[in-house]
Symmetry: C2
Subunit: 260 residues, 2 copies
Amino acid sequence: MDIVILGSGNVATQLGKTLADTGYNISQIWSRKLANAKVLAELIDTDYTDRLDALNRKADLYIISVVDDAISDLLRQLTCLDNPLEGMVVHTSGSTPIEIFQKAFDNYGVFYPFQTFSKSKLVEFGKIPILVEASDKPQLDLLKNLAASISDDVRLASSAQRKSLHIAGVFACNYTNYLYSIAQQLLEENNLDFDLIRPLIKETADKVQLHAPKDVQTGPAIRKDLSILSDHMKFLEDKRKWQEIYKLLSDQLIALATKK
Amino acid sequence: MDIVILGSGNVATQLGKTLADTGYNISQIWSRKLANAKVLAELIDTDYTDRLDALNRKADLYIISVVDDAISDLLRQLTCLDNPLEGMVVHTSGSTPIEIFQKAFDNYGVFYPFQTFSKSKLVEFGKIPILVEASDKPQLDLLKNLAASISDDVRLASSAQRKSLHIAGVFACNYTNYLYSIAQQLLEENNLDFDLIRPLIKETADKVQLHAPKDVQTGPAIRKDLSILSDHMKFLEDKRKWQEIYKLLSDQLIALATKK
C-alpha cells in the first residue's frame, strides 16, 4: 500500500514511523513547513514537500494529521487541485466528525490512535486502541486491516463516541499532566525534587489499571477533612491559579462524598 | 522495638503490615472503632483495643495514623491518661506540623510515607519516599533507622516542606484520580469501556518518570486549538461540573501557551 502523510506533528511522526517500520511504503510527507516535513521524511527515508500541487496523486491512502483547526481548509485546497487525489483520504482527529469529508471525497474515513504522542518519546503501538470509521464497507475493511497490522486493539466507533473519548482523554491525560506540572512547581519552590512525587504519580495510574477510579479515590476532600482543605487553600494564597483549581476540585469531591 | 499503632485506616494498615512483616513487634492496635482495630490486628496477629486507658504504656514508639482533624483531640486525651506514655510519639500526616506535639510530649516526631494507600491494594514500601522530622537528634536517628529498614528513600523535611509535598500530592494523585473518574463516566455514558483509556493513563504517568511535565504537555488547550475547545465545551453542556473543570484548566493552559 502506498501512503502519503500530510502533517509532521507528534501523531504524524509516531504513526508514520510505525507504518514505515511495519513495511508500508510511505511515499511522501507533506507539511506546511518544509523543514518539518524534512525531519519526518528523513526519519523514515522518503520524499517530502510543502506544496500541495506537488502531492503524489497515485497513493492508495492519504493520512491527514494536522491540528483540527486546519483540517477543513486543507480539504478545500485538496479538492481544488488540478488532478484530484485518487486514493482514500482519512484524518487522525478525535473530535472532527467524519462528515467533514462528505462533500469533498468519495472514499474517506477516520483513523484515530488513542494515545498521547510526543516527538521525543517513541510509543509502542501494539496496545494502543485505534478507532476507525469509514464511508463504506470496503474502506472500513481497509482501515481495519491497516490498524490491525500495528495494534491489537482496533474498534469501530461513531464520530460522537470518538469525540467523547477525546474529551475523556483531555481530562485523563492533558489535564492530568497539567496537574503534574503544578505539583512540580510547588515542590521546586519548596526546594524539593520532582523525583519525590514520581512514585506517587506512577502508583496513581497503576491503581486504576485494575480498579475503578471512584473506588480508589483518596485525599482530604473525599474524607471531608475540612481543616486540611482550608489549610491548603491558605498555603496557596499567593498562587491564585492553583488555588482556583484546588477549590473547584475539592468542592466537587466534597459534594460527591456528601451524596454517598 | 515495641510499636503501638493508633488508627486503622489505609496508612495504618499498610504501614502496620509492612513493619510487622519486616520483623518489628507491633504489640497493639488502637482504633476508635473496635471492629476496625480488630481487622488490622488480625491481619498482623496482635492485640487490639478501642479504649485509650487500655493502651500499652511500655511501647518504644506510638504511631498515630488518624485523619488530621482528629490528631489534636487524640493527643489531648493521651496526655490526660493516668499513666502517661513513655515512648516516642509520631504522626504520619503530611500537613500537620510537628509543633502539634510540643506541649504534649518530650520525644516526638513525624513519619510521613508519601504514597497513596488503599486497604485493597498492597503497596511495596521499598521505593516510597519517607519524610522524617523529630524533636531531637536521638529521636531523629530512631525514625531514620526505622524508615531505612522499609524504604530506600528516606529524607529529612521540615513541616513546611512536608505540607508543600502533601499539596503537590493532592494535585498529582487525588485530583488526577478524580479526573480519571470523570473520564470513566464520560466513556460509560457513550457506551465505551474504561479499558480504552487505561493505556493512555499509564503512558501519561510513565512519560513524566523521565521528562518534566511541562515539556510533554499535549492537547487542544496547549495548542490553542480554539474550535476544538469550544466544541468540547458544547459537548459538556449538560455536565456543568465537568464543564467548569474543563474551562478552568483549558483557560490556564491557553494562558501558559500564550506566555511562551
